[in-house]
Amino acid sequence: MLNINFPKIDKKTFNDLELSLAEEKIKINIRGKNKDFFTKVGKITSIILPTEANTSSSNEKFNALWLSPDEWIIYFDGKDTNKVINNLFNEISKLNFGAITDISDHWVCINIKGRKTFDLLSSSSPFNFNSFKKSKNNVAQTVLNHTDVIIHHKEVDDVNLFVRRSFAEDLWLWINDSARFL
């Protein structure tokens, strides 16, 4: 047996704030430009990739986040990596319609929720959350304490924060330290 180890992230509760690891999740980076690409993605995931900048779309299983005009992340709860990724890879990468890359372990998902969520993020991100926080399904790629993050505004005052695995523990400790001062 090989054991699974995630970065050391324990659930923490502060006033109006709850922080926790939101794993395990499958995350797939998908790149593509042409019509066939969008059709294939739609067929396999039943999701329409958002084309509007800084937004996301979701269905019962999948969340698709806009990253750039030809790049998205699809993420969902689960472990059956092979099936969806292989489907996408065989139908898109192999046929040269785009690129499918498994990045489930490249990013770690941290969930932050509560009334002070955006207060917390503002302590070390230059991003303007004023309108971002007003509606869900917004997505931002920005920096938090000089670390690259992707922020998905999933529900009201409830965000999934994606950080690269190697940075995760450091950012986690930083976020906890920030939360003390809210």
Partner: protein, 1000 residues
């Protein structure tokens, strides 16, 4: 002792007595006092010695412009802070402060002798005198000067306080909570804008909030009462955030401002309600309204620096805000009407007050009122001298000549222990100019005013040159209205009645019977520069204000010349006969007031000093006593000492084990880029120096990447996973830059290529096992994989599983040993590593760190980009011609490889170095020469890598040496501090040139 607290006010709670210490003595003040007002209430004026002449100095102002009363707070403790203005620090129980720049104490200061030899220390004295002999500077002059100069003492203990940063975005930021700032904030917030109002004091209202004078009424109420009600209303507004005790330190472009909020500096140790001392707000505002006010100007006359000479508005504030008088025999010395308010306040309290006015006569409303009350006014007069060593005791008054250039008539000597001076007002244009704004000069009262060009920010109130109450309200209203595109506000019909100034007269340097050389007319109080110094600078040929400033050090102290800059300009203008408006000003640079280092760095201290990246195996490394090395932001195991091993011993053991049996390395930090698309191999052809089209699926190849200038940029192994699918590895430190560079070429130069790049650095953990027994370990781990050398060749990979988890086994080597790398999803990294350690137990598998890795590869002559190269090395310089394709038409950097400079034969080239004494280890970075006796010694190159090789039992080094390729076998010298080391140029491959070990 007389009681200087003469009045009850709204802002000092005289039921709440507070004890504090100054220079070791205990005093009492009240809640609401500043250290300065508390000292004054105890009759303490002398609080410091001046910088150069060590003259006694007293409290001169009541705000951030204070030049003299700068103290060391909490001396000798870990909370100590130097250069704190006594006028800004709020009194709390247990506060300790001491004066600075004096020894043994403020009342008897040995440096005071400088005052008497001052004719010999004019401006530029240090520059001129301590030039010769040169050798004296370091050992004699500098230590001496440093000992007697300097302000406070830097803390020597770690700062126990916490500091924080926070970003905030708003529609309107109002800087300054005086009357105009309050009007502006109210209009903005009520119009629906998300507004922030910032003020550096603990109370809003500026100077109007204590303007208790019948001559100033708004809507028939005394101005202070009207404003008080406005503030109460303001506090109720929903979309307004008020931040007091917060000062704007810097105003950058695009309305990006830094403001420091003091959260606990006013509280005693036991009462600190926040665990953060200061918070630095990083504010981004759509529009900014600057209402930073104006600072009163002192007057420049002989001995104008004695304790007891205080700005008139400050005397007024000490009385009306803090309830404290600064003396019993008061004189107001002024050139304008505003100081008459001070005179009236003192008079009303029954305190003796007389007025000296340099103007010939004026008949404004407030002056008439003063005359009517019978207060003496000396018209057309000036103070020519002052007396009293530790505190002012008398002054000398004379009449001015018609043109003001001289004094005439009889000297009048008068008893005076408080001289309230006013030389007019200087608008605080710092914020405006920091943001990039330019200035206009207004001749009538000689002020620089904001020149507004864009709609990003406006200045209102006295910082915009409005000094009369009615103008302030009317113009603030109009400007804010137009900034916010409003039709109407509640302040349209505000009715103001106030006195108006009718006459002005300004003399920058007041005349005297004594020649200038013998007077002490201070301009910059903190840096002790006088009018004489400015004139000397001009005589010596300095013209630019920036040069005069640096030569005389005027305006270069911690107060940044808030009180002195205008006088320096004025005197230059008068002396050189140049109009002030054309002289310009010196540059106003942030911070407006000094910032603590704590506020600047925030929480990025200690464990958060820099970001750290950890591999998935990090925890194992810690448990197994790894010492870590920082590689970029990564924490990489450096070596794993056992018991009492030092680094050298550990590395020797690890290196030997890796070549004798098996070593294991965490290689997860290498950058990894997933490359897909139908043009992937063509893309690699263009970015690497060698050819890629024919690389078979399942094979790996080493690649060297150049910059367009032909210099080596990065290297790594790339694997072909499929027809159109590659996995590139980069150096650990280069990963982000390589990806960005490759994206750059794809997006800008070759958009026609169908290629997608995705970083997967963190997706996989990489475990590298090397050594003659590595294969046996791999066979144990992967029993189903065929590891036969003809089936699983060097530079190829196989997919496999371990306990049903997918992984990729690559046979590649950075040590020259038989070696395998296993890539697995990062969440299984630690578990896989533990399995490898377990499987390798019988073979003495030895974890090794970066130091051993570096040693092993150096034995084999493999380069490390960034260590053996420095951005000036071509592949040819590195003797790696074999990797540069001759057939390819183009690749990044190809054309540069045959520029006249890169084909020079005498370039620095990578060679090996062996020391004559095989035990001698060279220092990395050491210079290499051939002839030490011929001066100047010609430098041929330097050592780039150096180790003691346990496998060869001798010292080895890599070096770059001019024309090194042709020097093989030649003797060179590495000169060190105590000896010269003899070395011989050798081949750069020290071990196993035949690559036998790769297939052991």
């Amino acid at each position: 002792m007389p009681n200087y607290r003469v009045k009850k006010t709204d802002y000092v709670d005289q039921t709440n007595r507070i004890s504090f210490k100054f220079d070791g003595k205990t005093y009492f003040g009240f809640k609401g006092d500043t250290l300065a007002s508390a000292l004054l209430s105890n009759g303490i004026h002398l609080v410091g010695r001046s910088f150069k002449y060590h003259r006694p100095r007293g409290i001169m102002t009541c705000g951030s412009e204070e030049p003299n009363a700068i103290c060391q707070i909490n001396p000798g403790t870990d909370l100590t802070e130097p250069n704190v203005r006594a006028t800004e620090i709020e009194l709390y129980e247990g506060l300790e402060a001491s004066s600075q720049n004096c020894w043994p104490n403020v009342n008897f200061d040995i440096g005071g002798i400088n005052n008497f030899i001052s004719p010999f220390i004019p401006a530029g004295f240090y520059y001129k005198t301590f030039m010769w002999p040169k050798s004296f500077w370091k050992n004699i002059y500098e230590p001496l000067i440093r000992k007697s100069a300097g302000l406070g003492k830097s803390p020597t203990l770690p700062d126990p306080d916490l500091y924080d940063h926070k970003h905030i975005h708003c529609d309107i930021l109002v800087i300054g909570g005086g009357i105009s700032g309050i009007i502006a904030a109210k209009i903005a917030a009520k119009s629906g804008s998300n507004t922030i109002l910032i003020d550096d004091k603990n109370t809003l209202g500026g100077s109007t909030i204590f303007q208790n004078n019948e001559n100033f009424k708004i809507n028939d109420e005394i101005s202070k009462d009207w404003l008080f009600k406005e503030i109460e209303e303001l506090k109720k507004l929903k979309n307004l955030t008020i931040k007091t005790r917060t000062s704007v330190a810097a105003y950058h472009s695009y309305n990006y401002l830094l403001a420091k909020e003091n959260l606990t500096d006013h509280l005693s140790k036991n009462n600190k309600t926040s665990n953060i001392r200061q918070r630095l707000w990083k504010i981004r505002s759509n529009k900014v309204i600057i209402a930073s006010g104006a600072i009163e100007r002192p007057l420049v006359f002989n001995n104008n620096d004695r304790p007891g000479i205080i700005l008139a508005s400050s005397v007024n504030k000490y009385l009306n805000f803090y309830g404290v008088i600064c003396g019993e025999n008061n004189f107001v010395f002024t050139n304008n009407d505003s100081a008459y308010e001070t005179a009236l306040s003192l008079f009303e309290k029954g305190i003796q007050i007389k007025i000296i006015d340099i103007r010939k006569k004026t008949n404004s409303k407030i002056v008439k009122r003063v005359e009517k009350l019978g207060i003496d006014i000396y018209w057309n007069s000036t103070v020519t001298n002052t007396f009293g060593y530790r505190k002012l005791n008398s002054i000398e008054i004379m009449n001015l000549s018609e043109d003001g250039s001289n004094v005439i008539g009889k000297k009048i000597k008068a008893k005076c222990d408080c001289l309230a001076v006013s030389g007019g007002w200087t608008p605080m244009v710092h914020m405006h100019t920091q943001s990039g704004g330019k200035l206009n000069f207004r001749e009538s009262d000689q002020v620089f005013l904001p020149k507004e060009l864009d709609s990003e920010h406006i200045s209102v109130g006295s910082c915009n040159g409005d000094f009369e109450l009615d103008d302030i309200i009317k113009n603030t209203n109009e400007k804010v209205k137009s900034l916010l595109n409003l039709k109407e506000t509640e302040f349209e019909k505000t009715y103001v009645s106030c006195t108006k100034e009718l006459d002005k007269r300004n003399i920058w340097l007041l005349p005297n019977k004594i020649t200038l050389g013998k007077t002490k007319s201070f301009i910059d109080f903190q840096n002790d520069s006088t009018a004489k110094d400015i004139k000397l600078a001009l005589r010596e040929g300095f013209r630019s204000i920036e040069h005069v400033k640096r030569y005389t050090t005027t305006g270069m102290a911690t107060d940044q010349g808030k009180l002195s800059n205008m006088h320096a300009l004025g005197i230059i203008s008068e002396t050189a006969g140049v109009k002030m408006g054309t002289l310009g000003t010196t540059t106003f640079r942030p911070p407006f007031t000094p910032l603590t280092f704590g506020a600047i760095v925030g929480r990025n201290v200690g464990q958060f000093f820099d970001i750290t990246r950890r591999t998935s195996i990090h925890e194992w490394h810690i448990k197994n006593n790894a010492k870590f090395e920082n590689v970029g932001q990564w924490k990489r195991p450096w070596y794993y000492p056992k018991e009492n091993e030092n680094m050298h011993q550990a590395v020797q053991r690890e290196s030997k084990a890796a070549r004798d049996s098996a070593g294991i390395l965490d290689a997860s930090t290498l950058g990894k880029i997933d490359i897909q698309g139908s043009d992937a191999s063509e893309f690699l052809n263009r970015v690497y120096t060698n050819a890629w089209s024919k690389l078979a699926i399942g094979k790996c190849r080493y690649g060297l990447m150049l910059n367009e200038d032909g210099m080596v940029y990065d290297d790594g192994v790339t694997t072909r996973l499929g027809d159109n699918h590659f996995l590139m590895t980069t150096t650990t430190g280069g990963a982000a830059n390589v990806l960005s560079k490759l994206e750059d070429y794809l997006q800008t130069e070759w958009p026609e290529l169908d290629v997608f790049l995705t970083s997967v650095t963190d997706q996989y953990s990489t475990v590298s096992i090397c050594g003659p027994n590595s294969k046996k370990i791999l066979i144990k781990l992967f029993p189903s994989v065929n590891f036969n050398d003809d089936d699983f060749t060097h530079m190829s990979f196989k997919n496999s599983t371990i306990n049903n988890i997918n992984c990729r086994i690559m046979r590649i080597s950075f040590t020259g040993e038989l070696s395998y790398e296993i890539n697995i999803e990062a969440k299984y990294g630690k578990s896989l590593w533990e399995k490898c350690i377990e499987a390798g137990k019988d073979f003495n598998i030895t974890p090794y760190g970066t130091e051993t890795m570096h040693l092993l590869r150096a034995e084999k002559g493999f380069i490390i980009v960034g260590q053996d190269t420095d951005g000036t090395m071509t592949p040819i310089d590195l003797q790696m011609d074999w990797i540069v394709s001759k057939k390819k038409y183009d690749f990044i950097g190809k054309r540069s490889l045959y520029r006249s400079d890169t084909i020079r034969e005498d370039r620095k080239q990578l060679v090996g170095l062996l020391t004559e004494d095989p035990k001698e280890i060279l220092e990395e970075g050491a210079q290499i020469v051939s002839n030490i006796s011929k001066k100047p010694v010609e430098m041929l190159g330097h050592v780039t890598s150096s180790y003691f090789s346990p496998n060869l039992n001798k010292s080895i080094a890599l070096a770059v040496v001019r024309n090194g390729k042709k020097m093989k076998g030649q003797k060179l010298l590495v000169p060190m501090e105590n000896k010269n080391i003899n070395v011989i140029v050798s081949d750069s491959i020290f071990l196993d040139k035949e690559n036998k070990r790769l297939n052991a």
